[in-house]
């Protein structure tokens, strides 16, 4: 995030440019004349100043005199005429460049990302990525459906529950909802599964000095920190069940009492919670109290796994490699056959797995070359293990696990019953008997 000073006497331009710069994730302050700009420069340090050339009380160039000699501030002069370019080059040196009106969003984006782009090759093509709500990449139909839901819910104050597989991007969607809400307050994220039973109360609701051993000072909880903004509670279903009544009270009464305190503190924030369990699993496993579920999941949103939006895989892979190129000054490029290979895989670990895979490929490749060397195998052992272990949870019957194993084996051998029986170590007749018992075999199949 950069701190930007925008100086222009056209308040309408200032207004829209501010919206765009803030949307790009930077902090922006404004001035409508030279005097105001000089005041800001005395008080604050800016990473970047966007400066109109012609101001009511003099040329914007006079502001440069107010900057300290070895100031790291980069200045972009906004001018109505390209002929000013020559003057700027001669007068100001490399730390000052220019933009010619009329200005587009891309122009602003480009000058503000100058630091990173300067490191990459000037000939390198800069791919364009549309980040929906400032965070989300993807143009598949299911993602556009997701954008529609985010757009709708962001206009309300409703609590949102995000359901999706591990690595599908729940936290990114939560940040997108916050961005789309245009709320005044901050975005605060915490992981309910990361705290012990003793500490989670303090994390959520805060504590007073001396509330417990080690509480040397008072601390505001995340509900207080997210005042007028968005609170993201990740892994909500991992929250200890006996802490849930406290959470319910906060959601219902919109007040918190810090651990060890007596004073009620009013809180106001949208709660976006997330879990990688399905709705059915939440209901069956009783990891979340029903009353809490209905408070949190006023508007449930299911985030599609990557295998259901395969069209987005090349774009995401391009985005990740572009990021790595920017960070490391490399120029890796995908070959179309490699992107096809990525698209063919199911990515059980979702976008997180894809991102790590791209990172691994970049580490393995020669930084002097633009060719990426892909690892021989895409499969993630962790993702595989996760899949297998889902069938081996305590509480399932041997018959259920056996049935799942039989169907998984049949799927693996494209339905060939003889091969499947061999793999399972049973006779073909036994396999037929089992399938018949499951009601999944017609008489003609026998």
């Amino acid at each position: 995030m950069l701190t930007v000073l925008l100086v222009d006497d056209d308040t309408e331009f200032l207004d829209v440019a501010c919206t765009i710069i803030e949307f790009l994730g930077h902090e922006v302050l404004t001035a409508t004349n030279l005097e105001e700009a000089r005041d800001w420069v005395k008080k604050e340090t800016f990473d970047h100043i966007l400066l109109d050339f012609m101001l009511p009380d003099g040329s914007g160039l006079h502001l440069l005199e107010s900057l300290p000699e070895k100031s790291p501030t980069h200045v972009t002069l906004i001018t109505g005429h390209p002929s000013v370019r020559g003057i700027i080059k001669d007068l100001c040196g490399p730390k000052v460049d220019y933009l010619v009106k009329p200005i587009q969003r891309e122009d602003i984006e480009q000058v503000l990302s100058r630091k990173s782009s300067a490191r990459s090759s000037p000939n390198a093509k800069k791919p364009a990525f549309t980040k929906h709500f400032g965070h989300l990449i993807g143009e598949s139909a299911c993602m556009h459906e997701l954008y529609k839901l985010i757009g709708r819910v962001s206009k309300t104050q409703a609590n949102v529950m995000l359901l999706g597989e591990s690595g599908a991007g729940k936290e990114v969607v939560a940040a997108a909802i916050h961005q789309a809400s245009e709320s005044e307050g901050p975005y605060v994220a915490t992981n309910c599964g990361a705290f012990s039973k003793e500490l989670i109360g303090s994390e959520l609701f805060g504590h007073e000095k001396g509330a417990f051993t080690g509480a040397v000072g008072k601390k505001a909880g995340v509900f207080e920190q997210a005042e007028n903004g968005t609170l993201f509670l990740d892994e909500i279903t991992e929250m200890p069940i006996d802490m849930q009544p406290n959470l319910l009270r906060v959601l219902e009464n919109k007040v918190v009492i810090r651990v060890g305190g007596t004073k009620t503190i009013p809180v106001n924030c949208r709660v976006v919670s997330a879990t990688n369990r399905s709705m059915e699993e939440i209901a069956q496993s009783k990891v979340l109290r029903e009353d809490i579920y209905f408070r949190l999941a006023v508007f449930p949103i299911t985030i599609p796994p990557l295998r259901e939006r395969k069209d987005d895989i090349p774009m995401l892979a391009e985005y990740f490699i572009h990021q790595l190129n920017e960070e490391n000054g490399t120029q890796y490029q995908w070959q179309s056959s490699q992107l096809e290979q990525l698209s063919a895989y199911d990515w059980p670990g979702n976008i997180r797995e894809l991102r790590h895979f791209v990172h691994r490929a970049a580490i393995m490749s020669d930084p002097q070359s633009s060719t990426l060397d892909l690892p021989k195998t895409i499969e993630s052992p962790f993702a595989k293990k996760q899949n297998l272990s889902s069938g081996l949870k305590a509480g399932r019957t041997i018959e259920e696990v056996e049935k799942e194993l039989i169907y998984a084996t049949l799927e693996k051998v494209d339905g060939n019953k003889t091969t499947a029986a061999e793999m399972l170590g049973i006779s073909t007749k036994t396999l037929y008997n089992r399938l018949h018992a499951y009601g999944d075999l017609s008489a003609s199949d026998k």
Binding site: F23, K101, P102, I103, T130, F133, G151
Partner: protein
């Protein structure tokens, strides 16, 4: 065209460019609204502003033509 006329023309073009700059920025805001990045209400306001600025730009261009007419009193020729 003499130097004085050219200077005046530069000022006129500068004034005409201001509404164009506003129109461009408002159009960017509408693109953001269509992406769902800002509210549609903002897009509606931006469209109204574009219409206003188009009229303003047209007015500025008419003034440039009027000022440069051979029989104009503003034209020193």
């Amino acid at each position: 065209m003499n130097e004085q006329q050219f200077e005046q023309l530069q000022v006129d073009v500068h004034d005409a460019r201001r509404p164009l700059n506003r129109i461009t920025m408002q159009a960017e805001l509408i693109k953001m609204a269509l992406n769902g990045d800002v509210t549609l209400e903002k897009a509606m306001i931006a469209l109204d502003k574009i219409i206003t600025e188009c009229k303003s730009c047209s007015e500025s261009l008419s003034q440039i033509v009027a000022r440069n007419r051979p029989d104009s009193q503003d034209n020193p020729e």
